[in-house]
């Protein structure tokens, strides 16, 4: 406190401790990874250094006597509609450091959330709803390239050889989070859950730890510009390969795993020396045009002898529909579109908060465009970026997605409280840290169980919602915008989403 630069000393949270209830168990001290809680042996007191508190709630949730409350710092700047608190604090911070402000997780600014302006239709009288408890309810989803038509010989047998597919038991996958950005235990949690659920997890760009190869059949391996850990073995280890072009939290810029996070296991998996920066800049240096993307897609297909579907992941941006069309035509089997609320890693704040577009509109326009071009049925479309619950997913599929990627909600299932400190590598919940002490906080047994619970619950809710729409198979929801209505949207918004106004 004493030696801090006063200009940098505006903090967000205060740790309040009811000393009548504090039993000095020091749990809060050991659990805080940001040095906010201390034990003073001489006075037998626990006290807090509020300026270090990030509001992650680790201490308050662990306190066995519930004596801790994390509250917003009541300190306030003079009210100014233009200069909001965060503008002011960021400015001071940068004036002090000259650095680019880094933050974690997706866009948290109050942009309009279209999920909350769409409602789902239900059957009443004229067509029956279905009871999902009794009746079969199918969520199985195939991702991969589908032929335009099936060739049939004169005996009526189908002669078309189908392209390789990913088979999902529920249309939800765990989105790319690299080993390194999240630690091994989180990777293992996600991998185990994917296996148990019959879905897929995505390695992100950090390679696949050799001990997780056993989950290969449920793994999508990613190939990003840094090419970390990309070897022929890696490419063949997964069920599909994803080329990462962009990600929702930071469209157009790359990833950067700071050297201090590159510890032994990460070093081995990424195949870079311990302690060096793992830089994966925005462009693949072999992709500067769509035909270069095609070149890489086919290089990967050749490397895996056309046995794996290739996905291309892009951030949702203005021109996403045209880009998606190009990707489809470049030979990708799956297109993943990551909206600006997505992103589990670190991102420069200026980019996270101002670049990209919401998934909702991106999916609507991509689906629409691919249909206009008559190629939507040939490729799969995966929506990503900030899915919070099953109804968001139902709406995304109704807008045209085949499946969704979740990452933020997956991390939340293993404990994340959205404190947005991912970039610091000190995650108190043991997620976005490789510190061996903190990483232990995610026990993959528990992590996997919680993820399985979450996806099962969502899947059941999706079934319920399908049932009330009178649908017993997820493919009848795909692109079924007739089942959506807009509430509180302007005409151009309705038009962009291509849905009707509620009541119409």
């Amino acid at each position: 406190m004493l030696y801090k630069n006063p200009y940098n000393n505006y903090f967000d949270y205060v740790v309040q401790r009811d000393m009548d209830k504090c039993i000095r168990c020091k749990d809060c001290v050991t659990q805080c990874s940001y040095d906010a809680n201390f034990y003073d042996e001489e006075r037998d007191l626990i006290y807090s250094l509020d300026s270090n508190c990030v509001g992650c709630m680790r201490c308050s949730t662990f306190c066995p006597t519930d004596c801790i409350r994390i509250v917003r710092n009541p300190d306030t700047f003079r009210i100014n509609a233009n200069w909001k608190d965060n503008n002011v604090k960021d400015l001071y911070k940068q004036a002090g450091t000259g650095g680019i402000i880094i933050t974690g997780m997706g866009n948290d600014k109050p942009y309009k959330n279209y999920w909350e302006h769409m409602v789902i239709d239900a059957c009443q009288v004229t067509n029956p709803s279905i009871d999902p408890l009794r009746e079969p309810m199918e969520l199985r989803t195939f991702l991969g390239r589908k032929p335009d038509r099936l060739e049939v010989n004169k005996d009526g047998d189908i002669t078309t050889k189908l392209a390789p597919q990913l088979v999902l038991e529920t249309p939800i996958m765990f989105s790319a989070m690299s080993y390194g950005s999240i630690n091994y235990n989180v990777c293992e949690s996600v991998a185990r859950a994917a296996k148990e659920l019959g879905i897929y997890w995505n390695t992100g760009e950090g390679g696949l730890p050799d001990t997780l190869y056993e989950y290969g059949k449920h793994t999508i391996v990613q190939c990003a510009s840094g090419r970390f850990g990309v070897s022929p073995e890696y490419l063949n280890a997964g069920a599909a390969i994803e080329i990462k072009i962009g990600q929702g939290a930071k469209p157009g810029i790359g990833g950067h795993l700071p050297g201090e996070k590159v510890l032994e296991g990460i070093s081995r998996t990424r195949m870079i020396p311990v302690g060096t920066d793992a830089i994966s800049p925005a462009p693949h240096h072999d992709i500067y045009s769509i035909e270069d993307l095609r070149q890489l897609i086919y290089a990967l297909k050749e490397a895996t002898r056309y046995e794996k579907p290739v996905s291309v992941k892009i951030a949702a941006v203005h021109n996403v529909a045209a880009i998606a069309s190009g990707i489809a035509r470049a030979g990708a089997d799956i297109i993943a579109v990551d909206g600006f609320r997505g992103g589990t890693g670190a991102a420069p704040k200026s980019i996270r908060d101002n670049v990209g577009i919401p998934t909702e509109v991106a999916i609507a326009s991509v689906d629409q465009r691919l249909r206009e071009e008559g190629i939507r049925h040939q490729v799969s479309l995966v929506a990503a970026g900030g899915f919070r619950n099953s109804s968001d997913i139902v709406k995304a599929i109704a807008l045209g997605a085949d499946a969704v990627y979740i990452a933020t909600s997956a991390l939340m299932a293993v404990g994340c409280t959205l404190c947005q400190q991912c970039h610091r590598g000190r995650c108190a919940w043991g997620i976005t840290t490789n510190d061996p002490e903190l990483s232990k906080r995610v026990n993959p047994e528990i992590g996997a169980e919680r993820l399985v619970n979450l996806i099962r619950a969502w899947s059941n809710e999706i079934k319920e919602m399908l049932g009330l729409m009178g649908i017993n198979s997820i493919e009848s929801l795909k692109g079924n915008r007739d089942r959506l209505r807009g509430v509180g949207l302007s005409e151009i918004e309705l038009q962009t989403l291509d849905i009707k106004q509620a009541g119409m």
Binding site: K26, F62, P64, E437, K440, R441
Partner: protein, 157 residues
């Protein structure tokens, strides 16, 4: 050290240091469970004598581990005990400590290779204190409270 035999097989608490996060909740729960009031606030702040945890969280960052009685098949504490305060219940396999009998000679503390016997005040004097696997609970308190499954209640016989 005693040769390890556990002929009947029995459930005891094993630490899994890989997952121990040094949160100390096992100690808190143990103390609370073995308090008069079974309330952590009272156990820590009011009760006299203050209960003493029977498990010990060792913490040497980045590693932590909670160590408690192994209920050895041939327990060295039992072999060292002067007057039979410590005995092995042949039916349950538990190492029982009879507090009323305890002399407070600390032969058990000396002998226990795990260092898990502590001292607790009983009226005027101190007596030995050790894990009793929480007879009032189905699962020992420390295991039940552990947020990260760093303690498991298993039979590894």
């Amino acid at each position: 050290m005693t040769e390890k035999i556990n002929e009947d097989g029995m459930k005891i608490v094993y630490p899994r240091e890989q997952w121990c996060i040094a949160c100390n909740l096992c100690e808190v729960a143990c103390m609370t469970e073995h308090s008069r009031t079974k309330d952590p606030l009272r156990a820590y702040l009011i009760e006299k004598p203050r209960p003493v945890s029977r498990t010990k969280v060792e913490y040497l960052p980045p590693v932590a581990v909670s160590v408690m009685c192994r209920h050895c098949a041939e327990a060295e504490c039992v072999e060292a005990c002067k007057n039979g305060t410590l005995t092995r219940d042949e039916k349950t396999g538990k190492i029982e400590l009879d507090r009323d009998k305890c002399l407070g000679c600390w032969m058990c503390i000396m002998a226990c290779p795990y260092g898990v016997i502590t001292q607790v005040r009983k009226e005027e004097k101190a007596v030995a204190n050790k894990c009793d696997l929480c007879p009032d609970r189905e699962i020992p308190a420390c295991v039940a409270v552990c947020p990260n499954r760093a303690l498991v209640f298993e039979d590894r016989g």
